[in-house]
Protein backbone atom coordinates (compact mmCIF):
# COMPACT_ATOMS: atom_id res chain seq x y z
CA UNK A 1 0.00 0.00 0.00
CA UNK A 2 1.31 3.41 -0.95
CA UNK A 3 1.31 6.00 1.82
CA UNK A 4 -1.38 8.61 1.21
CA UNK A 5 -0.81 12.26 0.45
CA UNK A 6 -1.67 14.02 3.71
CA UNK A 7 -4.56 16.43 4.02
CA UNK A 8 -4.23 20.14 4.80
CA UNK A 9 -6.90 22.62 5.81
CA UNK A 10 -9.10 24.15 3.12
CA UNK A 11 -8.12 27.50 4.66
CA UNK A 12 -10.14 30.70 4.55
CA UNK A 13 -9.83 31.57 0.85
CA UNK A 14 -11.59 28.73 -1.01
CA UNK A 15 -14.63 30.90 -1.66
CA UNK A 16 -13.69 32.00 -5.17
CA UNK A 17 -12.65 28.51 -6.25
CA UNK A 18 -14.77 25.71 -4.83
CA UNK A 19 -18.37 26.93 -4.33
CA UNK A 20 -20.42 27.29 -7.51
CA UNK A 21 -23.82 28.84 -8.19
CA UNK A 22 -26.61 26.43 -7.33
CA UNK A 23 -24.18 24.15 -5.51
CA UNK A 24 -26.83 23.33 -2.92
CA UNK A 25 -29.72 22.93 -5.35
CA UNK A 26 -29.71 19.34 -6.54
CA UNK A 27 -33.17 19.92 -7.96
CA UNK A 28 -34.62 23.05 -9.55
CA UNK A 29 -36.48 25.44 -7.25
CA UNK A 30 -40.13 24.46 -6.95
CA UNK A 31 -39.59 20.79 -7.72
CA UNK A 32 -42.66 19.03 -6.29
CA UNK A 33 -40.66 16.37 -4.44
CA UNK A 34 -37.87 18.63 -3.19
CA UNK A 35 -36.90 18.62 0.45
CA UNK A 36 -34.84 21.28 2.19
CA UNK A 37 -32.13 20.27 4.62
CA UNK A 38 -30.42 23.09 6.45
CA UNK A 39 -28.52 23.94 9.58
CA UNK A 40 -25.46 25.55 11.07
CA UNK A 41 -21.87 24.46 11.50
CA UNK A 42 -20.71 25.29 15.03
CA UNK A 43 -17.41 25.25 16.89
CA UNK A 44 -16.60 24.02 20.38
CA UNK A 45 -17.76 27.31 21.91
CA UNK A 46 -21.10 27.03 20.11
CA UNK A 47 -20.15 29.81 17.71
CA UNK A 48 -21.19 29.56 14.06
CA UNK A 49 -18.40 28.83 11.58
CA UNK A 50 -18.68 31.20 8.60
CA UNK A 51 -15.86 29.62 6.61
CA UNK A 52 -16.83 25.98 6.40
CA UNK A 53 -17.55 24.11 3.18
CA UNK A 54 -19.91 21.15 3.10
CA UNK A 55 -20.20 18.52 0.42
CA UNK A 56 -23.13 16.16 0.10
CA UNK A 57 -23.34 12.85 -1.71
CA UNK A 58 -26.43 10.67 -1.76
CA UNK A 59 -28.46 8.02 -3.53
CA UNK A 60 -31.30 9.04 -5.81
CA UNK A 61 -34.87 8.39 -4.58
CA UNK A 62 -34.70 4.83 -5.89
CA UNK A 63 -31.45 4.15 -4.04
CA UNK A 64 -29.28 4.45 -7.15
CA UNK A 65 -25.69 5.54 -6.61
CA UNK A 66 -24.52 5.94 -10.20
CA UNK A 67 -24.67 9.72 -9.92
CA UNK A 68 -24.48 11.82 -13.05
CA UNK A 69 -22.03 14.42 -14.28
CA UNK A 70 -23.07 18.02 -14.63
CA UNK A 71 -23.10 19.35 -11.05
CA UNK A 72 -20.72 22.07 -12.26
CA UNK A 73 -22.01 22.24 -15.83
CA UNK A 74 -20.41 25.07 -17.74
CA UNK A 75 -21.35 27.40 -20.51
CA UNK A 76 -18.59 26.84 -23.09
CA UNK A 77 -19.10 30.31 -24.56
CA UNK A 78 -18.61 32.38 -21.43
CA UNK A 79 -17.02 29.78 -19.15
CA UNK A 80 -19.62 30.61 -16.50
CA UNK A 81 -21.63 28.04 -14.57
CA UNK A 82 -24.72 27.00 -16.49
CA UNK A 83 -26.41 25.14 -13.64
CA UNK A 84 -27.49 21.51 -13.57
CA UNK A 85 -29.56 20.49 -16.57
CA UNK A 86 -32.40 19.20 -14.40
CA UNK A 87 -32.30 15.93 -16.34
CA UNK A 88 -30.84 13.15 -14.25
CA UNK A 89 -29.76 13.48 -10.65
CA UNK A 90 -26.10 14.21 -9.85
CA UNK A 91 -26.40 13.27 -6.18
CA UNK A 92 -23.68 15.81 -5.34
CA UNK A 93 -23.95 19.17 -3.62
CA UNK A 94 -21.44 21.69 -2.35
CA UNK A 95 -22.35 24.60 -0.07
CA UNK A 96 -20.19 27.14 1.77
CA UNK A 97 -21.61 28.34 5.07
CA UNK A 98 -22.81 31.94 5.10
CA UNK A 99 -21.69 34.70 7.47
CA UNK A 100 -23.99 33.17 10.09
CA UNK A 101 -22.46 29.70 9.71
CA UNK A 102 -25.59 28.47 7.98
CA UNK A 103 -26.07 26.19 4.96
CA UNK A 104 -29.03 25.03 2.90
CA UNK A 105 -29.44 22.01 0.64
CA UNK A 106 -32.43 21.41 -1.67
CA UNK A 107 -32.57 17.86 -2.87
CA UNK A 108 -34.67 14.75 -3.33
CA UNK A 109 -35.01 12.33 -0.45
CA UNK A 110 -32.40 9.58 -0.84
CA UNK A 111 -33.60 6.03 -1.30
CA UNK A 112 -32.08 3.05 0.52
CA UNK A 113 -28.57 2.39 -0.78
CA UNK A 114 -29.02 -1.34 -0.12
CA UNK A 115 -32.21 -3.40 0.32
CA UNK A 116 -33.79 -2.57 3.65
CA UNK A 117 -31.13 0.02 4.54
CA UNK A 118 -32.08 3.28 6.19
CA UNK A 119 -31.50 6.15 3.73
CA UNK A 120 -28.99 8.87 4.50
CA UNK A 121 -27.12 11.75 2.93
CA UNK A 122 -23.35 11.55 3.31
CA UNK A 123 -21.62 14.78 4.33
CA UNK A 124 -17.99 15.81 4.09
CA UNK A 125 -17.00 18.82 6.22
CA UNK A 126 -14.14 21.19 5.44
CA UNK A 127 -13.29 24.39 7.32
CA UNK A 128 -10.56 26.83 8.11
CA UNK A 129 -8.97 25.43 11.24
CA UNK A 130 -9.90 21.86 10.34
CA UNK A 131 -6.71 20.16 9.17
CA UNK A 132 -8.37 17.01 7.84
CA UNK A 133 -11.95 16.82 6.61
CA UNK A 134 -14.65 14.98 8.56
CA UNK A 135 -17.47 12.72 7.38
CA UNK A 136 -20.89 12.47 8.89
CA UNK A 137 -24.39 11.47 7.74
CA UNK A 138 -27.81 13.06 7.73
CA UNK A 139 -30.53 10.49 8.42
CA UNK A 140 -33.88 12.05 7.57
CA UNK A 141 -35.66 9.76 9.97
CA UNK A 142 -34.69 7.35 12.70
CA UNK A 143 -35.45 3.69 12.31
CA UNK A 144 -34.47 0.21 13.33
CA UNK A 145 -31.77 -1.94 11.85
CA UNK A 146 -29.16 0.61 10.82
CA UNK A 147 -25.82 -0.84 11.95
CA UNK A 148 -24.24 2.56 12.52
CA UNK A 149 -27.14 4.09 14.45
CA UNK A 150 -27.61 0.91 16.45
CA UNK A 151 -23.98 1.04 17.56
CA UNK A 152 -24.43 4.47 19.18
CA UNK A 153 -25.71 5.66 22.55
CA UNK A 154 -29.04 7.52 22.28
CA UNK A 155 -27.50 10.98 22.71
CA UNK A 156 -24.85 10.31 20.10
CA UNK A 157 -27.38 8.70 17.77
CA UNK A 158 -29.52 11.82 17.94
CA UNK A 159 -26.73 13.92 16.40
CA UNK A 160 -27.22 12.08 13.09
CA UNK A 161 -31.01 12.42 12.83
CA UNK A 162 -32.40 15.52 11.13
CA UNK A 163 -35.26 17.28 12.90
CA UNK A 164 -38.36 17.68 10.71
CA UNK A 165 -39.75 21.17 10.35
CA UNK A 166 -42.66 22.54 8.34
CA UNK A 167 -43.10 22.17 4.60
CA UNK A 168 -40.61 19.40 3.92
CA UNK A 169 -37.71 21.07 5.68
CA UNK A 170 -35.27 19.35 8.00
CA UNK A 171 -32.83 20.90 10.46
CA UNK A 172 -29.38 19.39 10.90
CA UNK A 173 -26.70 21.22 12.87
CA UNK A 174 -23.10 20.08 12.77
CA UNK A 175 -21.13 20.57 15.99
CA UNK A 176 -17.42 20.09 15.40
CA UNK A 177 -16.83 19.95 19.16
CA UNK A 178 -18.65 20.29 22.48
CA UNK A 179 -21.38 18.58 24.44
CA UNK A 180 -23.47 18.10 21.30
CA UNK A 181 -20.50 17.05 19.15
CA UNK A 182 -21.71 15.36 15.97
CA UNK A 183 -20.73 11.76 15.30
CA UNK A 184 -17.97 11.73 12.70
CA UNK A 185 -17.08 8.61 10.78
CA UNK A 186 -14.00 6.58 9.99
CA UNK A 187 -14.00 4.38 6.89
CA UNK A 188 -10.71 2.60 7.61
Amino acid sequence: MRPPTPSQTVGPFFGYALPFPGGGDLVPPGHPRAITVHGAVLDGAGQPIPDALLEFWQADPAGGLAGAPGSMRRDPVTGSFAGRSGVGFTGFGRVATDADGHWTLRTLPPGPAAPGALPYISVCVFARGLLHHLYTRVYLEDGAGDPLLDSLDPDRRATLIARPEQDGAYRFDIHLQGSEETVFLDFG
Binding site: M1, R2, P3, P4, T5, P6, S7, Q8, T9, V10, G11, P12, F13, F14, G15, Y16, A17, L18, D43, G44, A45, I49, W57, Q58, A59, A66, G67, P69, G70, M72, R73, R74, G79, G91, F92, A113, Y120, S122, C124, A127, R128, G129, L130, L131, H132, H133, Y135, P147, L148, S151, L176, Q177, E181, T182, V183, F184, L185, D186, F187, G188
Partner: protein
Protein backbone atom coordinates in the same frame (compact mmCIF):
# COMPACT_ATOMS: atom_id res chain seq x y z
CA UNK B 1 -17.62 47.97 25.95
CA UNK B 2 -14.72 47.08 23.73
CA UNK B 3 -11.69 45.12 24.78
CA UNK B 4 -8.28 45.39 23.28
CA UNK B 5 -7.35 42.50 21.02
CA UNK B 6 -4.84 40.14 22.63
CA UNK B 7 -1.22 40.88 21.88
CA UNK B 8 -0.10 38.47 19.16
CA UNK B 9 2.23 35.79 20.40
CA UNK B 10 5.77 35.71 19.07
CA UNK B 11 7.04 33.01 16.74
CA UNK B 12 9.14 31.56 19.57
CA UNK B 13 6.00 30.52 21.47
CA UNK B 14 4.65 28.68 18.42
CA UNK B 15 8.08 27.13 17.75
CA UNK B 16 8.27 25.77 21.29
CA UNK B 17 4.80 24.26 21.06
CA UNK B 18 5.53 22.70 17.67
CA UNK B 19 8.79 21.25 19.00
CA UNK B 20 7.03 19.74 21.99
CA UNK B 21 4.34 18.04 19.88
CA UNK B 22 6.99 16.86 17.44
CA UNK B 23 9.10 15.34 20.23
CA UNK B 24 6.06 13.59 21.73
CA UNK B 25 5.09 12.19 18.32
CA UNK B 26 8.61 10.95 17.64
CA UNK B 27 8.79 9.28 21.02
CA UNK B 28 5.41 7.63 20.51
CA UNK B 29 6.53 6.31 17.14
CA UNK B 30 9.80 5.04 18.62
CA UNK B 31 7.73 3.26 21.27
CA UNK B 32 5.73 1.46 18.60
CA UNK B 33 2.88 3.80 17.63
CA UNK B 34 2.07 3.67 13.92
CA UNK B 35 3.30 6.39 11.57
CA UNK B 36 1.03 9.40 11.59
CA UNK B 37 0.18 9.65 7.91
CA UNK B 38 -2.24 12.56 8.27
CA UNK B 39 -2.13 15.87 10.14
CA UNK B 40 -3.43 15.99 13.67
CA UNK B 41 -6.83 17.63 13.80
CA UNK B 42 -5.96 18.71 17.33
CA UNK B 43 -2.85 20.78 16.77
CA UNK B 44 -2.78 23.75 19.20
CA UNK B 45 0.04 25.67 17.46
CA UNK B 46 -2.50 26.23 14.66
CA UNK B 47 -4.77 28.34 16.83
CA UNK B 48 -7.87 27.99 14.64
CA UNK B 49 -7.84 24.23 15.14
CA UNK B 50 -8.46 24.48 18.89
CA UNK B 51 -12.26 24.79 18.75
CA UNK B 52 -12.68 23.15 15.35
CA UNK B 53 -11.81 19.52 15.92
CA UNK B 54 -13.86 16.75 17.49
CA UNK B 55 -12.72 15.56 20.89
CA UNK B 56 -14.46 12.21 20.68
CA UNK B 57 -12.94 9.43 18.59
CA UNK B 58 -14.28 8.88 15.10
CA UNK B 59 -16.82 6.07 14.84
CA UNK B 60 -15.95 3.21 12.49
CA UNK B 61 -18.70 2.97 9.88
CA UNK B 62 -20.00 -0.60 9.81
CA UNK B 63 -21.13 -0.20 6.20
CA UNK B 64 -20.50 2.43 3.56
CA UNK B 65 -22.82 1.64 0.66
CA UNK B 66 -23.08 5.32 -0.18
CA UNK B 67 -19.58 6.51 0.65
CA UNK B 68 -17.87 3.79 -1.38
CA UNK B 69 -19.41 5.39 -4.43
CA UNK B 70 -19.01 9.03 -5.25
CA UNK B 71 -20.02 11.92 -7.43
CA UNK B 72 -19.02 11.85 -11.07
CA UNK B 73 -17.83 14.75 -13.19
CA UNK B 74 -17.40 14.95 -16.92
CA UNK B 75 -16.49 17.11 -19.86
CA UNK B 76 -19.52 19.30 -19.20
CA UNK B 77 -18.05 20.31 -15.83
CA UNK B 78 -14.77 21.81 -17.08
CA UNK B 79 -13.74 23.95 -20.01
CA UNK B 80 -10.45 23.68 -21.88
CA UNK B 81 -9.08 26.92 -20.47
CA UNK B 82 -9.75 26.00 -16.86
CA UNK B 83 -6.36 24.30 -16.51
CA UNK B 84 -4.43 27.38 -17.64
CA UNK B 85 -4.61 30.02 -14.91
CA UNK B 86 -2.54 32.44 -16.99
CA UNK B 87 -5.18 32.76 -19.71
CA UNK B 88 -8.32 33.66 -17.78
CA UNK B 89 -8.06 37.42 -18.35
CA UNK B 90 -7.22 39.78 -21.19
CA UNK B 91 -3.61 40.28 -20.17
CA UNK B 92 -0.75 38.19 -18.83
CA UNK B 93 -0.42 37.81 -15.07
CA UNK B 94 2.77 38.94 -13.37
CA UNK B 95 5.11 36.37 -11.89
CA UNK B 96 7.08 33.25 -12.61
CA UNK B 97 5.18 31.02 -15.06
CA UNK B 98 5.05 27.39 -13.92
CA UNK B 99 3.64 24.08 -15.09
CA UNK B 100 2.53 21.70 -12.35
CA UNK B 101 1.79 18.13 -13.31
CA UNK B 102 1.55 14.71 -11.73
CA UNK B 103 -0.50 11.57 -11.37
CA UNK B 104 -3.37 10.81 -9.04
CA UNK B 105 -3.23 7.25 -7.73
CA UNK B 106 -5.13 5.17 -5.21
CA UNK B 107 -3.31 3.41 -2.40
CA UNK B 108 -2.81 0.35 -4.59
CA UNK B 109 -1.01 2.53 -7.13
CA UNK B 110 -3.80 2.43 -9.70
CA UNK B 111 -4.45 5.62 -11.66
CA UNK B 112 -7.50 7.61 -10.70
CA UNK B 113 -9.02 8.34 -14.11
CA UNK B 114 -11.43 11.02 -15.25
CA UNK B 115 -11.79 12.61 -11.83
CA UNK B 116 -12.03 16.27 -10.96
CA UNK B 117 -8.97 18.18 -9.73
CA UNK B 118 -9.47 21.76 -8.54
CA UNK B 119 -6.79 24.23 -7.45
CA UNK B 120 -6.66 27.72 -5.99
CA UNK B 121 -3.78 29.92 -4.95
CA UNK B 122 -2.48 33.38 -4.17
CA UNK B 123 -0.94 35.52 -6.90
CA UNK B 124 2.79 36.14 -7.30
CA UNK B 125 2.67 38.80 -4.59
CA UNK B 126 1.02 36.50 -2.07
CA UNK B 127 -2.50 37.95 -2.33
CA UNK B 128 -5.71 35.98 -2.84
CA UNK B 129 -8.51 37.31 -5.02
CA UNK B 130 -10.75 37.17 -1.94
CA UNK B 131 -12.30 40.04 0.02
CA UNK B 132 -11.14 38.43 3.23
CA UNK B 133 -7.50 38.77 2.25
CA UNK B 134 -6.42 42.28 3.20
CA UNK B 135 -2.69 41.65 2.96
CA UNK B 136 -1.34 44.92 1.51
CA UNK B 137 0.19 43.30 -1.53
CA UNK B 138 -1.14 44.11 -5.00
CA UNK B 139 -3.99 42.25 -6.61
CA UNK B 140 -3.25 41.25 -10.19
CA UNK B 141 -6.09 42.15 -12.58
CA UNK B 142 -4.90 39.35 -14.86
CA UNK B 143 -4.87 36.61 -12.27
CA UNK B 144 -7.70 35.04 -10.28
CA UNK B 145 -5.94 31.87 -9.23
CA UNK B 146 -8.57 29.13 -9.59
CA UNK B 147 -8.34 26.17 -11.98
CA UNK B 148 -9.85 22.78 -12.75
CA UNK B 149 -9.22 19.74 -14.87
CA UNK B 150 -10.15 16.09 -15.23
CA UNK B 151 -7.42 13.47 -14.84
CA UNK B 152 -6.56 11.57 -18.01
CA UNK B 153 -6.45 7.79 -18.51
CA UNK B 154 -3.16 7.59 -16.66
CA UNK B 155 -4.51 9.66 -13.78
CA UNK B 156 -2.50 12.67 -14.91
CA UNK B 157 -3.35 16.32 -14.28
CA UNK B 158 -1.54 19.39 -15.63
CA UNK B 159 -1.94 23.06 -14.75
CA UNK B 160 -0.20 26.16 -16.07
CA UNK B 161 -0.01 28.93 -13.51
CA UNK B 162 2.16 31.48 -11.75
CA UNK B 163 4.29 30.62 -8.75
CA UNK B 164 2.35 31.90 -5.73
CA UNK B 165 4.02 34.16 -3.20
CA UNK B 166 4.31 33.58 0.53
CA UNK B 167 1.79 35.54 2.55
CA UNK B 168 1.25 36.71 6.11
CA UNK B 169 -1.54 35.47 8.34
CA UNK B 170 -2.60 36.16 11.90
CA UNK B 171 -1.98 32.90 13.71
CA UNK B 172 0.77 34.67 15.64
CA UNK B 173 3.09 37.67 15.24
CA UNK B 174 5.09 37.53 12.00
CA UNK B 175 3.34 34.37 10.79
CA UNK B 176 3.98 33.65 7.10
CA UNK B 177 2.67 30.74 5.10
CA UNK B 178 5.12 28.98 2.79
CA UNK B 179 4.12 29.34 -0.86
CA UNK B 180 1.53 26.73 -1.75
CA UNK B 181 -1.22 25.74 -4.16
CA UNK B 182 -4.45 24.38 -2.68
CA UNK B 183 -5.61 21.12 -4.29
CA UNK B 184 -9.02 19.44 -4.13
CA UNK B 185 -9.37 15.89 -5.47
CA UNK B 186 -12.04 13.27 -5.95
CA UNK B 187 -11.55 9.53 -6.28
CA UNK B 188 -14.05 6.91 -7.34
CA UNK B 189 -15.34 6.73 -3.77
CA UNK B 190 -16.44 9.63 -1.56
CA UNK B 191 -14.16 8.12 1.11
CA UNK B 192 -11.16 9.10 -1.04
CA UNK B 193 -11.91 12.81 -0.97
CA UNK B 194 -8.82 14.96 -0.43
CA UNK B 195 -8.21 18.66 0.10
CA UNK B 196 -4.59 19.56 0.65
CA UNK B 197 -1.79 21.98 -0.24
CA UNK B 198 1.19 21.50 -2.52
CA UNK B 199 4.40 23.22 -1.48
CA UNK B 200 7.56 24.12 -3.37
CA UNK B 201 10.98 22.60 -2.64
CA UNK B 202 13.39 24.19 -0.16
CA UNK B 203 10.98 26.79 1.18
CA UNK B 204 12.68 28.56 4.10
CA UNK B 205 9.32 29.01 5.85
CA UNK B 206 8.63 25.29 6.45
CA UNK B 207 10.02 25.16 10.02
CA UNK B 208 7.88 28.12 11.12
CA UNK B 209 4.52 27.03 9.74
CA UNK B 210 2.07 25.26 12.08
CA UNK B 211 -0.16 24.09 9.22
CA UNK B 212 2.68 22.26 7.48
CA UNK B 213 4.00 20.92 10.80
CA UNK B 214 0.60 19.64 11.92
CA UNK B 215 1.83 16.54 10.09
CA UNK B 216 4.26 15.22 12.66
CA UNK B 217 5.85 12.54 10.47
CA UNK B 218 8.76 13.96 8.47
CA UNK B 219 8.28 11.57 5.55
CA UNK B 220 4.58 12.38 5.41
CA UNK B 221 5.36 16.11 5.31
CA UNK B 222 7.73 15.54 2.41
CA UNK B 223 4.80 14.07 0.43
CA UNK B 224 3.34 17.58 0.17
CA UNK B 225 6.44 19.06 -1.45
CA UNK B 226 6.65 19.10 -5.23
CA UNK B 227 9.86 18.34 -7.10
CA UNK B 228 11.47 20.73 -9.52
CA UNK B 229 11.79 18.84 -12.84
CA UNK B 230 14.10 20.45 -15.34
CA UNK B 231 12.81 18.23 -18.16
CA UNK B 232 9.38 19.71 -17.52
CA UNK B 233 10.63 23.27 -17.87
CA UNK B 234 10.17 24.87 -21.29
CA UNK B 235 12.90 27.04 -22.82
CA UNK B 236 12.17 30.74 -22.41
CA UNK B 237 8.66 29.94 -21.18
CA UNK B 238 8.06 28.15 -17.87
CA UNK B 239 9.49 26.16 -14.96
CA UNK B 240 8.22 22.67 -14.24
CA UNK B 241 7.15 21.09 -10.97
CA UNK B 242 6.03 17.51 -10.52
CA UNK B 243 3.78 16.28 -7.73
CA UNK B 244 2.09 12.88 -7.53
CA UNK B 245 -0.89 12.40 -5.24
CA UNK B 246 -2.09 9.24 -3.50
CA UNK B 247 -5.70 9.28 -2.33
CA UNK B 248 -6.33 7.82 1.11
CA UNK B 249 -9.35 5.76 2.03
CA UNK B 250 -10.86 2.60 0.63
CA UNK B 251 -12.03 2.71 -2.97
CA UNK B 252 -15.08 0.95 -4.35
CA UNK B 253 -12.86 -1.45 -6.27
CA UNK B 254 -10.94 -2.28 -3.12
CA UNK B 255 -14.17 -3.18 -1.35
CA UNK B 256 -15.44 -5.32 -4.21
CA UNK B 257 -12.17 -7.24 -4.30
CA UNK B 258 -12.22 -7.54 -0.53
CA UNK B 259 -15.62 -9.22 -0.39
Amino acid sequence: MSTNPPTPEPQAVIDAEMARVQAEAEKAHADGAPEELQPRRDYPPYRSSVLRHPKRPLVAAPEAFTELRGPVFGVTDVTELDSDLTRQHHGEPLGERIVVTGRVLDRDGRPVRGQLVEIWQANASGRYAHKGDQHPAPLDPNFTGAGRCLTDDEGRYTFTSIKPGAYPWRNHLNAWRPAHIHFSLFGTAFTQRLVTQMYFPNDPLFPYDPIFNSITDERARQRLISTYDHDLSSPEWSLGYRWDIVLDGPSATWMEEGR
